[in-house]
Amino acid sequence: MKIKLEKRPQPSRRWLYLSPILAVIVTMLAGGALFAALGKNPVEAIATIFWEPVFGEFAFYYRPQLLVKGAPLILIAIGLSLGFRAGVWNIGAEGQYIIGALTGAGVALALYPMEAWFIFPLMIVAGAAGGLAWGMIPALLKVRFGTNEILVSLMLVYVAEQLLAAMALGPMRNPEGMGFPGSRNLQEYPSAHNAELIAGSGMHWGVVAALIAVIFAYVLLGRHILGYHIRLTGQAPRAARFAGVSPKALTLFCLGTSGALAGMAGMFEVAGPTGQVSIDFNVGYGFTAIIVAFLGRLHPFGILLAGLLMALTYIGGEIAQSNLGLPAAAIQMFQGMLLFFLLAVDVLTNYRLRLVPRSEAAA
């Protein structure tokens, strides 16, 4: 007998939903083996990562942290998923996230120490506009000159990082910071502070924005003609063109929207949990969001769950590091396995396994 991969006539809907779950289970098994090889109790390690943050002794602190960590991932991934569905590959969300943080914080720092109700809304607009502008660079280059948006958007991440360092050391540096790099702490500037809406809940405006984005994307994809065009372009570009879809307009829309959402995520982060523009402000949300988008099947509600799951592995991973002495690299490997196994298991969506007798296989 031999195992044969056979292409399905239609992608399996069942496996579309089952494969992320299977990937998580396989990741747990392989991760457990990794932890065991490191001399740790694998059951305890896995339980620490997945159980402790939600139901453990200090869950009252970790549960809100899941929202804090998950919100930027979800917000960015929602934007990316629109493009990914249409075959527009924005890999540079990290850069758009940085620029959004800079423009958003820039508004606050320029107006400091004025206190007014309109400062925070203005920061949101500025953050979105900054991300949008950064996303428009690869979009316009693609539309006008046919450049590859994957390369351009990715390279712009490194440009954005240099700009961030320059801002933290120069124009945005805290004049009362004794020469040290980093801006004023926006947490100490009430009009600009993206504070928790209910103390101790982890709910800040970024979480609200992420939830709105999920609903908005769901309606757009399911009910709106634009969502239909996005899906059609991804599945059958030629048919889309016959249906009157302008690929250029779609490229601009997808890169612009994902840029604006990433920029907003950066702004909410710099005004809230992080508090200041610093050289190391970005910690990879823009890249991790790519995993979240695919783990969530590019579906808005899937992304919501995937973002929370990813946040769980981060926070649980930190607990495992501190409580069980697991090395940081092992946790990163564990997260990497998740995408790896998801892509591997995804084969089952488009193919089915069949046991065939040797003779038939040879023929």
Partner: protein, 359 residues
Amino acid sequence: MTLKTLLTGAALAVGLAAAPALAQDDKTRVGFIYVGPIGDGGWTYEHDQGRLAIEEHFGDAVETVYQESVPEGADAERAITQMALNGADLIFTTSFGFMDPTISVARKFPDVKFEHATGYKTAPNVSTYSARFYEGRAIQGHIAGKMTESNVVGYIASYPIPEVIRGINAAFIHARKANPDVQFKIIWAYTWFDPAKEADAANALIEQGADVILQHTDSTAPQAAAEKAGGVVTFGQASDMAEYKPFPRVSSIIDNWKPYYIARTQAVIDGTWESQQIWHGIDEGMVEIGEITDAVPAEVRDEALALKDAIAAGEYHPFTGPLKKQDGSDWLAEGETADDATLLGMNFYVEGLDGEIPQ
């Protein structure tokens, strides 16, 4: 969220600080937050050696925990909070970028003691501590000035913060004293630990003619690059980096945190811990000079050791006038020494250095 859960949350938050101490047995728990991996062979490695020294010294009376490679920012705040929640009595946060998170968490856990390395913000339960690395830099600078044949010394800098600028100035002043023709070429790596970037920087400096490389980054990648290029002198940074002895690594600055960590842990056990700002140097043993190898001529070694002894004895200050700033304005008059406040906020080059501090 209902009012009841809110109140429960508030009650828990209030009870936070007291509860962990009760939950633990009488063991003292000491936590460490590291910016790099413990295997970096430099900065974080030496802090972890300090942690291990605590374990060895106190045995079963103390338990230590650590978290490595913690990003500076929101993630750091969570990592520190988590340690406090899990009953740590004393937490060392060992990077400059952990300053605001440390202060913020300390406010929520008034009964937990915090020690932040290289920062300037304190609180009743937050101390700061740092080492006078510039004393070691002066000795390195002297050796560098004597050893260079191309008269070009390369310097891999991390971030343009006072600590790093101070190191560049201290090394340059003493390199110039040893060799009036010496020039410094400085590359800003914008990282504390990134072997690939550090190797790139080292190679770029070597291509520009540097035959001595000083580094303010934590990995051994520059040592490896120098070894490969051949004929290039390096110094161990933060840790001895002894595996590159006797050449290219001819000496090193070693951060020795062990005595300080043991003393502070003891203070917590005794209940005598108080907030303070510590800046120790060669004299107190926080800064050590690693073995000067035979690759350095005997007379240069003797001079370097004499300089070290003079600094340790307090007879000589590495920043002694006459010194001018880069723009030619006067800084220190003949015989005058720099005060700590100026050194802690140092944001200018001394006369003779080329280039600008990134702004």
